[in-house]
């Protein structure tokens, strides 16, 4: 029993991290119907920005993390400007191919600057025993920040004018433009917001495990799986999907040998695309990419 409640706790933490990264992804997807392949690599960069500020420049961790988030948001803005905006009305595969290029560019930058080795944040973890469960101070911090981020995001999306504009654009970008919403500005804001959330998630991943430049690809794959699971066209879909994925991964490993963990993750992605392309929280039935 204790073993399974521990697994559930771990599932909530990893699932929450995936969810937070995936929300940024699903926001971009729900507005532009655009697979942002570079998203996981952006999260990886966020992770390393925090590392650079906290370990290499010796700033206090919270300031470093905030700085990392701001830098990553700027990175998101640059990606939108360089690789997405000029290609928006180009050949239909061009934006996807361009962000694949961006993704591998970011990976090579990280490899050059921080090397291929495994790094970690310089943080002392203290383990507590609470109701028979083991939890570290870092995990408590992650849970609190996760909750705060979700509340903040909810407030931003549902209660502010910008959020209203984002929702309207996600609903129908043409109609939103007609009523005077500057859709280009909204796209930039969403890229920045999504990248900032990815940076939070990336930093958490770095805290939970360690820092590796090659992590980007699996983060991209997992957040896409989370978005599909949760449902396209729903901004919060990624959050739910991330939690489901976290549970699937942690529970799957209790049954199967851990070497097959990635096989399970990609298998789940494959099965989900096949059986439930519209997702669990889908607003409307959608299938396929070319005739949307």
């Amino acid at each position: 029993m204790d073993y399974y409640s521990q697994v559930i706790l771990n599932s909530i933490i990893t699932g929450g991290i995936y969810g937070l990264i995936a929300v940024g992804y699903s926001m971009i997807y729900s507005i532009l119907r655009f697979v942002n392949f570079s998203h996981g690599f952006v999260a990886m960069m966020g992770m390393y920005f925090t590392y650079a500020l906290s370990v290499q420049l010796q700033l206090p961790f919270f300031i470093a993390a905030a700085g990392g988030i701001v830098l990553t948001a700027l990175l998101g803005m640059i990606i939108e400007r360089v690789a997405y905006r000029p290609l928006r009305f180009s050949f239909y595969l061009a934006p996807l191919v361009a962000v694949v290029g961006v993704a591998f560019f970011l990976e090579s930058v990280a490899l050059m600057v921080w090397g291929g080795g495994i790094l970690s944040y310089d943080i002392r973890t203290i383990s507590y025993k609470f109701l028979g469960l083991y939890i570290t101070n870092v995990q408590i911090g992650i849970l609190i920040t996760l909750l705060l981020s979700v509340i903040l995001l909810y407030y931003l999306i549902e209660k502010t004018t910008i959020g209203q504009a984002i929702r309207a654009t996600a609903d129908d970008i043409k109609m939103a433009s007609l009523v005077g919403i500057n859709s280009n500005r909204i796209v930039v804001i969403v890229f920045m917001l999504g990248s900032a959330l990815a940076a939070v998630g990336g930093t958490f991943l770095g805290l939970e495990t360690n820092l590796q430049p090659t992590i980007g690809l699996s983060v991209t794959a997992k957040s896409f799986a989370a978005v599909i699971l949760g449902g396209f066209g729903n901004i919060y879909g990624g959050l739910v999907g991330g939690l489901v994925l976290g549970f699937a991964e942690n529970l799957g490993v209790t049954v199967l040998p851990t070497v097959w963990k990635d096989f399970i993750a990609f298998g789940v992605l494959f099965i989900v695309i096949y059986f439930k392309p519209s997702g669990l929280l889908a607003k409307r039935q959608e299938r396929g990419g070319r005739y949307r």
Binding site: A83, F89, F91, L111, M112, G115, A221, F263, F270, R287
Partner: protein, 300 residues
Amino acid sequence: MFYHLTILMIIYSITCIGLNIVVGYTGFFSFARAAFFGIGAYTSALLVMSGVPFLIAIIAGGILAAIFGWILGLITVEMTGDYFALATFAFAEMTRQVFINWTGLTRGPLGLPGIPRPEIFGFRFSTNQAYLFLYIILLILVLIITEMYVKSPFGRLLKTIREDETAAQSLGKNIAKTKNISIAMGAFFGGVGGALYAHYITYIDPSAFVLHITIFFLIIVIAGGMGNNYGTILGAVMLVLVRELPRYLGLSPAFAASLQQMVYSSILVILMLVRPRGLLGERKLLSEQSSEEGGQIRNA
């Protein structure tokens, strides 16, 4: 060095001509290339090592890859665009996990060393010159078959599917079957390319079949121009030079590897900005006006 680079160009050309059938002619963005390349490489290597003749092993590698391609085509038959890309990507990663974890067959991360060099009718191709000769013949063969295939009515149907699937359907064409054949055929050449790679390098391990190699193949096809076999060969020549030349500059291997990656990912982005359809790419059959409208609908 000249022979090495040219042989690599030929191997990649054969593989990418297969990929071009799927991506360039049929218009489906497949991320599964590394999987077919790997299946062909492992199949052929393992067969030759257990005594099967070289030519049969290479064709067997291609056929096994084609069977997997056929199955993948059956599963992904209804998927388009991003979904197809992601499904093929998931398939490729699953295949790689099998290469890593099925240690009884593939020796896992240790890889397969000492793959024999080809031997046909008692003649052993041990020098690079002989190799080059053999591979050029194979490339010409592949090129002739593919050109015949894409110039046939069936090949024109592929382009129709790329330009407008609904229109093709309304003419009573069997889209699913056509798509499947093209994926399987692309996979066949991918497998053959993988087999040729394995017998040239004489060592394979799962890290040779990661997504990066798929991306590399895609760049070759896109850079050369989608839907143009000569463009693909041009792309292979260009990209092999970009990728292999930093090795001869005397940089440290780790730095050279990330530099390579940086160079060709930048080329990819710049190419998309300048020529989204590649160097020798075809113009879209529909007018530019309606294609722009299509873009807006897609983004709306």
